[in-house]
Symmetry: C2
Subunit: 347 residues, 2 copies
DNA sequence: GAAACCTGAGCGTGATATGAA
DNA sequence: GTTCATATCACGCTCAGGTTT
């Protein structure tokens, strides 16, 4: 009937409560809880037992208020993006061993980036890791004047001064995809692009230059696409009515590629028999057995770890007076060959 | 070159800094910042200007430490579940107008529910909203003895005393799906289940009882499935080798249904021509133009709003001394008819 | 008496200084 | 000198109570 733990008053137990129960000072309890040296093994055990008895938990707020370092990394991400949630998972994995906590702040249709960042700042995060931020570069630079800011998966011009950038070499990834198709014998290769999405411009450029380098400038064809399955599906319907139909397509990302696949399938255009399709990201989607998508892989755990690493490096380095120029960390993508690419069938 | 805002020392500006600049006391600044009455319009403006000048932002932690109410709702969710991220979005939307903040804590392969809850408790959340929690009911009951706990989308026995439950009537949803197929003329209807996932048992039971009620007990067939596309795909492969093959399938959720669809498609079994498929959730996936999945819709915004509402109701009601029994709020699902169901073709 | 403002205390910690074994 | 323990203050803020117009 009664609660499991003996809560003195209905309030949560504090250091003082533990101290009273263990007959020591609050300072000593603090020492024991933090695991610092300065307490004998005997009292240590006694204090820990007392803490356990009354269900004591340290109060993060009070703790962070007192210690000037918060060891808190603020992470802004898009709730709906599987790519982002994968990155967040990697960020957790990288931050906790390094002794940093994560404060999540989501961006959604009903919640702007501005709101997301505001709450992170109010929570006194020491650094910000922004996933594919859409905010203007100037705004990011302004933020970066206040605290270390890492832009993950969005490229920024050097003019965005102090912002750290961690991203995949999108241009190179698109090149690898085109090279792969060309090596298989394809010549007529289209690209369904990502519009204004982060990375889209680079991938488009990578596609173009690779085509040109292979002497296929005449076959360059960029279709307006986007990030979602619907975008891919729409582009596929366009492609189906096109003559001559390309024998290979590079999609902006895996979701877009999935839309392509599905629509081709319904139109009885076999993949890869009738047309080859390549995605981008190597998301969970691409790995699904029935999708089995050839794709340009981004090394998500590594990107996440590097983002955390850069943020921490900034924190350990010079704090604000002598701002180091923003560094750009570019990670190589790698093509993952699966079942949606094959040599073209000579018609 | 220098930061935009004049930061006194490299530290962030505090109430005292604003007070000094506006020539008032910190208490008055506090009043102005919070928008409480007790300051003249003139000083109000002067203080706000000063705050803006030096880029002051209230420190949530200090603020919450002092005021006994934290107005913080802790939300535990699964990073990889689109259903969960949709709910989170709804929770944000419901909480902020009510004057509550959200603290997110993710569950991922590398991060347990225990860890997720621990950080929420350390952050002094006033109540917990747990999305599809897998923890044992006893553990949840223990938590609920300390603070209001809402289990969203997971049913709990009455024995889990104090826990609030907000969920969809899964059994009823499955019934609606079966009714729809039967009305179309189907008799041989299979169910690909969700194993131990939250809601799976109820949906299984709903399917069974509905089949029996229609006099189709002989056709009851439950295939082991799961939450992912791969699970659906595997079940589809089983179904393809089954004679007689069912003419309709109810999948555990939309992802599972998508796996079914895709595999049927590849096997040249048209949907809904050769077989009808129904999903569950009405996730973004189901609405995609090229999927166009008939599905049992869960009212996600409403579930989110109700979860927040129940948590707040608990906070406004009796705090701990006289624990009210856990309430169960059950939301009706509704079938959404799209393009994957049709009358069976008589072979 | 109200409106506008200030003073002082304390929320739960962590760090420093200091003392006792 | 080292180990163990304590007292005291400060972190940034809110709130109760007081003072002045």
């Amino acid at each position: 009937m009664s609660p499991t733990h003996e809560v003195p008053d209905g309030k949560r137990p504090t250091l003082a409560d533990v101290a009273a129960r263990a007959n020591v000072s609050t300072a000593l309890v603090s020492i024991v809880i933090r695991g610092t040296k300065g307490a004998s093994a005997a009292t240590r055990e006694r204090v820990l037992q007392a803490a356990k008895d009354i269900g004591y938990r340290p109060d993060t707020r009070a703790r962070l208020l007192r210690s000037h370092r918060s060891r808190l990394l603020g992470v802004q991400f898009e709730l709906q993006s599987a790519f982002h949630t994968d990155l967040v998972e990697g960020i957790y994995a990288a931050a906790e061993p390094a002794g940093y906590q994560i404060a999540l702040s989501a961006v959604a249709p009903s919640r702007s980036e501005q709101q997301a960042v505001d709450t992170l700042l109010a929570d006194r995060c020491e650094a910000l890791i922004l996933l594919g931020p859409q905010a203007p570069a100037a705004r990011l630079a302004e933020l970066a004047a206040q605290l270390p800011v890492v832009s993950l998966a969005r490229r920024l011009r050097a003019s965005a001064g102090n912002v750290e950038v961690v991203r995949t070499a999108d241009e190179e990834g698109a090149r690898q995809a085109v090279d792969h198709l060309v090596a298989l014998g394809h010549r007529d290769i289209a690209h369904v692009d990502g519009g204004r999405a982060p990375g889209a411009a680079d991938r488009r450029r990578g596609y173009r230059t690779a085509m040109v380098r292979h002497g296929l400038a005449a076959h360059v064809r960029v279709l307006p696409g986007g990030l979602t399955e619907d975008d891919g599906s729409a582009a596929a319907r366009t492609l189906l009515t096109t003559r001559p139909r390309p024998t290979g397509v590079l999609a902006f990302n895996d979701r877009c590629a999935t839309g392509l696949l599905d629509t081709f399938l319904r139109a009885a255009v076999p993949v890869p028999g009738g047309i080859s399709v390549i995605g981008f990201d190597d998301s969970r989607l691409a790995r699904l057995a029935h999708i089995d998508l050839t794709t340009v892989g981004q090394d998500i755990p590594r990107m996440a770890a590097l983002a955390v690493g850069r943020a921490i490096a900034r924190l350990d380095g010079e704090p604000a007076d002598e701002p180091a120029p923003g560094t750009e960390t570019v990670i190589a993508p790698h093509l993952i060959t699966r079942g949606t690419t094959a040599p073209p069938t000579t018609a």
